[in-house]
């Protein structure tokens, strides 16, 4: 897509350096009226305040905002990666990649990496919590299995020893093995 030059850019082609002067005045927060006066002085052309305002919004401010965003994303990236560990050569390449991504229209949130990082950290916490819960459940399960086995072993030992099983023995099995309440009428 061809970008339509602004009036100031058109004048800059005839009067090299005009745009630079305008940019420098905008950097110094000069008023649009003062800029119009400068353009008149350098080129003899009278520009409306709206024309200068358009240039300010479309070029000067757009460039400032883009650079600010680029810097912010890159600074965040460097901090996350550990700046000291990255060579200048890698930094320059990385910076170019971020710039290319932004140029290609990638919606890079300035805090993209930080958000992702927080999400990863949260996922790590969830994983750790799940792991702890799993371990706790395994311990509980093992305890229950041991109790079930003890109850059955106890009953089996009684039978092998010629003893009869009591209602209490059955209740233990009902409770530990099947998780059922004791039989009505109670144990002996």
């Amino acid at each position: 897509m061809r970008i339509q030059p602004t009036r100031i850019e058109q004048l800059d082609a005839k009067h090299p350096g005009l745009r630079l002067d305008v940019d420098l005045m905008l950097d110094k927060q000069a008023t649009l009226e003062a800029i119009a006066a400068l353009v008149k002085e350098k080129t003899g052309e009278t520009l409306s305040i709206q024309t200068i305002s358009n240039y300010k919004q479309r070029r000067w401010l757009a460039k400032k905002l883009r650079l600010e965003e680029l810097r912010e994303i890159f600074t965040t990236l460097k901090a996350e990666l550990g700046e000291a560990a990255i060579s200048e050569s890698t930094q320059a390449r990385l910076f170019e990649l971020v710039d290319q991504a932004m140029r290609s229209g990638a919606a890079l949130d300035p805090h993209f990496l930080l958000k992702e990082q927080r999400l990863w950290a949260l996922q790590d916490i969830w994983k750790q919590q799940n792991e702890r819960l799993k371990q706790k459940l395994e311990i509980e399960l093992e305890k229950t299995r041991r109790e079930m086995k003890d109850s059955v072993d106890e009953a089996e030992a009684k039978l092998r020893g010629g003893e009869s099983l009591t209602v209490g023995d059955i209740d233990k099995i009902r409770e530990r093995v099947f998780g059922l309440p004791a039989a009505k009428g109670g144990s002996e």
Partner: protein, 105 residues
Amino acid sequence: MMSHETKSQALHEIERGEILRFLAEVYPNPVTPNMLMHHLDDSAYSVDDDELGFHFAYLFEKGYIALEEFARRAGEKRRIRWVKITARGIDRIDNRPPESDGVRI
């Protein structure tokens, strides 16, 4: 594209000013020549490789930028890997007089 012989001296000076101002904006980060070239395109100060090399050499000799060169193979033309503005370059952008060291104590 005009070569650096046909472009006006003023335009060269403007391009070098734009290069320095961009490097100051992203200071202390180093940038690749490619990224700088894209920026110059965006700013409607397009330059070709030779012109950019010329500007880099000029600014480097003035002490306004630092750069790292590399060659893929021995004997091959050296390329610039990254450039960044120096403290002296920032002083130039800020129009700081030579007698000032940029630090007020």
